[in-house]
Symmetry: C2
Subunit: 426 residues, 2 copies
C-alpha cells in the first residue's frame, strides 16, 4: 500500500482549515483593494535563471528545481524552479510588461511559495505570502501607504498589540562603525547576520557571537548595543514616521536601530511586524530600488511588504480570534430521501431551496429516516427537510430543527424562506 501522507513539510487543508484561510485571505484582499492595490498572479515555476543568484547562497540551496522534460530527463538537468518568493517574479513582470503597466504600479499577490527548508514547527516547505508592492516612486508616501495597509489588515483581523519595527538599511554601516568599530563592508555584512538574531539570542548571545567571529570584543559589543539603543531616529525615517501619524499604523511604529532583515536586495527603509506571543515575524518588507534593474537594465524604485498567511493563522487560532461564523459547517439544510421513488422529488426540493440562497445537501440513499437524521446531526447541519407521502400529497414539507428536535410542517412554496429566516436567526 502506498503512503497517503502529504509530502514532508506540506499540508492538506481540510474544509475547516480552508474556511479559516479564506477568511484571512478575504480580509487581506479587501483591505489591499481599498488601498488601490491590484491583483497579480505569476506561474508556480520560473525559468531557473530567473531565481538563481537572487536570494544569496543560502537561498539558492533552498530552491526546488524541476527536471527538464523529454529526452533531457535522464541528464538530471533542471530548467525550471518553484517560486521562492513573490518579489523576484514581480520584478520580472515589471520588466516584461513595462509598456502595459501604469507608471506607479501597485499590486498585491497572494500565492504559495516553496522552500526546501528543513520542516519544523511552523516552518513549512509550502506556504502562502500576501504581498503588496509599489513600483515607480521614491516618495515616502509609498512606505506609509503600505504600513497603513498592513496595519489595517491586522486591525481588521482583530490584532491590537502588534509592533512594526522600522529602520533604514543605509543607517546600518554608520551604526556598526560608530558603536562597534566595524568598518569594512564584508565584516559589516557578517556582523549584520549576527545582529539580526538579537531578538532570538539576546545581547549576551550577540556579543558572544561577534567576539567568536573576531569582529569585535565581547565588552565592546555589549557597550555598543547599549549605546546604539538610544540612537535618535535618523533623518531618513523621521519624515516617514511623521506621515504615519494620521494612519492606522500610527500607534504601532517603533524605531529599531538593530533591525537588519536578511534579504540582500533592500536599499532603503526596512520594516518588520511582530506580536509578543510569536517568535519570528508576522511579516516584513522594505525598499529595494535596484532589483527591477536586474531584469530591465535600468533601475526602477520599488518598495514592498509581505504578510505570512500561516503565521497569522497560527496566532489567530491560538488566541481564538476567528469568529464563530467561520466554522459555518457545510450546509444549512439536508434534504432526506423518503424512498426510492421520491428521489426525483427530493432533488427538485433541493433545487427550490437552493434558489432561495440556501446551502443544501441531499442525502444520497433511501436509508431509514433515523439514519439520515443521525448523519445530518453528525455533520452539524441545523435543519433537515422531509417530504413523506402525506407531505407530498398536500404540497407540504416537514422541517426538523436538529438542535431541539422540533418539527414543523409548512407549505412547500414557503419552505425556502422559512428555513432561510430560521438560519439567519440562529
Amino acid at each position: 500500500m502506498q503512503s497517503t501522507k502529504p509530502p514532508s513539510g506540506t499540508r492538506d487543508f481540510l474544509p475547516e482549515d480552508i474556511r479559516r484561510r479564506e477568511y484571512v485571505i478575504g480580509t487581506v484582499r479587501r483591505v489591499y483593494e481599498r488601498y488601490g492595490f491590484e491583483p497579480l498572479e505569476t506561474p508556480a515555476f520560473e525559468n531557473i535563471e530567473t531565481l538563481l543568484g537572487k536570494y544569496g547562497e543560502e537561498g539558492n540551496k533552498l530552491i526546488f528545481k524541476i527536471l527538464k522534460r523529454g529526452e533531457h530527463e535522464a541528464s538530471g538537468e533542471a530548467d525550471l524552479a518553484l517560486r521562492y518568493d513573490l518579489t523576484v517574479p514581480l520584478a520580472r513582470v515589471v520588466a516584461q510588461y513595462q509598456n502595459e503597466l501604469p507608471k506607479f504600479f501597485k499590486r498585491y499577490q497572494i500565492q504559495p511559495v516553496w522552500r526546501a527548508d528543513r520542516p519544523a514547527k511552523g516552518r513549512f516547505r509550502e506556504f502562502f505570502q500576501c504581498d503588496i508592492d509599489s513600483i515607480g516612486s521614491t516618495s515616502a508616501v509609498v512606505e506609509v501607504e503600505q504600513l497603513a495597509a498592513v496595519s489595517e489588515v491586522l486591525t481588521t483581523l482583530g490584532f491590537v498589540d502588534f509592533k512594526i519595527r522600522i529602520n533604514h538599511r543605509q543607517e546600518l554601516p554608520a551604526l556598526l562603525a560608530q558603536h562597534f568599530a566595524i568598518h569594512e563592508p564584508p565584516k559589516q555584512a557578517e556582523a549584520l547576520i549576527t545582529l539580526d538574531k538579537l531578538d532570538k539570542i539576546g545581547p549576551e548571545g550577540v556579543a558572544d557571537e561577534l567576539e567568536k567571529r573576531q569582529l569585535t570584543t565581547r565588552a565592546q559589543a555589549l557597550q555598543g548595543l547599549k549605546d546604539a539603543a538610544t540612537r535618535a531616529v535618523p533623518e531618513s525615517l523621521a519624515a516617514m514616521i511623521q506621515l504615519c501619524l494620521g494612519t492606522p499604523a500610527a500607534n504601532h511604529l517603533l524605531f529599531d536601530p538593530f533591525l537588519a532583515r536578511g534579504l540582500s536586495y533592500y536599499t532603503g527603509a526596512i520594516m518588520e511586524i511582530s506580536v509578543p506571543d510569536l517568535a519570528g515575524s508576522l511579516g516584513g518588507g522594505g525598499r529595494y530600488d535596484n532589483l527591477v534593474g536586474m531584469f530591465l537594465g535600468r533601475d526602477v524604485p520599488a518598495c514592498g511588504f509581505s504578510l505570512g498567511l500561516e503565521r497569522i493563522i497560527v496566532v489567530m487560532t491560538e488566541r481564538g480570534m476567528f469568529p464563530a461564523s467561520v466554522a459555518g459547517g457545510n450546509a444549512d439544510v439536508m434534504v432526506t430521501i423518503w424512498n426510492d421513488g421520491s428521489r426525483s422529488d427530493a432533488l427538485m426540493l433541493a433545487g427550490e431551496l437552493r434558489s432561495g440562497g440556501l446551502r443544501v445537501d441531499v442525502y444520497p440513499e433511501p436509508d431509514k429516516l433515523g439514519k439520515q437524521f443521525k448523519y445530518a446531526s453528525s455533520r452539524s447541519v441545523p435543519f433537515v427537510a422531509i417530504v413523506g407521502d402525506d407531505e407530498r400529497a398536500n404540497g407540504m414539507v416537514s422541517v426538523k430543527d436538529m438542535k431541539n428536535g422540533e418539527q414543523q410542517t409548512i407549505a412547500r412554496a414557503e419552505a425556502a424562506n422559512y428555513i432561510a429566516s430560521r438560519v439567519r436567526a440562529s
Copy 2:
C-alpha cells in the same frame, strides 16, 4: 540581460486577467457551496509514487518531476512531482483522513495542475481545474447532483447552449462487439482511443484510423458508426436521466454512445460538457469506484466532475459574456498631493474615504495637479479628490468627476458618502 518572459506554456495574470478569473471562480465556489460541497486544497507537489502509474503511459510522461534536494541533487533523482490533476490527490486524502471525513464526503477543489504538454493555443502547462467529487455512495443521486451543480455554474455564468453528453463506461465493450466486431479487451481499448476522436476527425477519420490500426475495415466501421448512433439509452443511464428532469441539467443532457473519456480509472457513468464554438470540452467527469482503493486497500465508491477554468474564460471572453463591472478598475477615487507639506493630510483624507468603503489610491508625489489628473484619467479612476490651501482652511474637499470634468467642493465630513453615492450611481 535575463529573459523576462514567463516559462513556456505558463502565463502571468495581470490585474484585469485576475478580475475575470476571480469572477468565474467566485461563481463556481458559490454554486458548489449551495450544493453542499466543501472546500479542500492539497499541496502543489506529491511524493512521486503517489502520481506515477495513475494516468496511463502518456500521462506518466507529462508529469513534472522535482529534483531531490541536498546531497542527492547531483544524482538527478526526483522524489516529488507536481500535481497532475485533482482526483488522485483526493483519493490519497480520502485514505489518509478516513476517520475524520464524513461518510459521504463531498468536496470541491479549485487549484492549478501542471502537465508538461507541448504548449499550443488554449493548451497550457499550468492551468486550473474546478472539481467536485462525492465519495461514499453508489446512488445515481450523486451523478445527478453533480450534473445539476455544473449546469447551474454554467447557467449562472450566462451559458445557455451547452450540451452534456453522457455514456456509461460499461456499455462500451458491448458497443464495440456488436457494431464493430471488436471483441478482445486490448483491441477494444485501442479502438476507444480512436472513437474518442469522433468529434474532432469525424466518421470518415475514425473509419480510416480503425482500418489503419487493423481493428476493422473502413466499411464496417462506417456502418457500425451509423447503426450505433441510434442505440437506445441503456438501462444503466435511464434512471439517471429521469432524475435530472427537475434539475438545471434537464435540457442539456444528451446520450452519446461513442463518448469514451480518456482516463482509465472510470468505472460507470461518464459525462462531458461542450459548447458549439469550442473544440474540446469545457469539462467532464464520471464515476470511478476503484481509485480510492489503490490508496486505501478497499474500494470506496466515488464520482467526480471537473470544469476547466481557462476554457470557460476563453469562451466567455470571445462571446463578451463578462459583465462590465468585472473590468472595475483599480480605484474609485484618487487623492492628489497638493504640495510636499500636504502629504500627511492627503494620507488622512485617503483613510477617511477608505473608512467609507471606497477603494482609494493616493498619488505618491507632489507633481503638478494637471499631471496628477492625467494619471488618474489614464488609470480610468472616475473621481479625484483635491485639498488645496482654500479647501484645507475651510474643511472642504474638491471632487472632480473625471468623465465630465465637473468639480464640486463639499464638506470634508461628507466626502466619503458623496463619492460613494456617485460611484454607485455611475
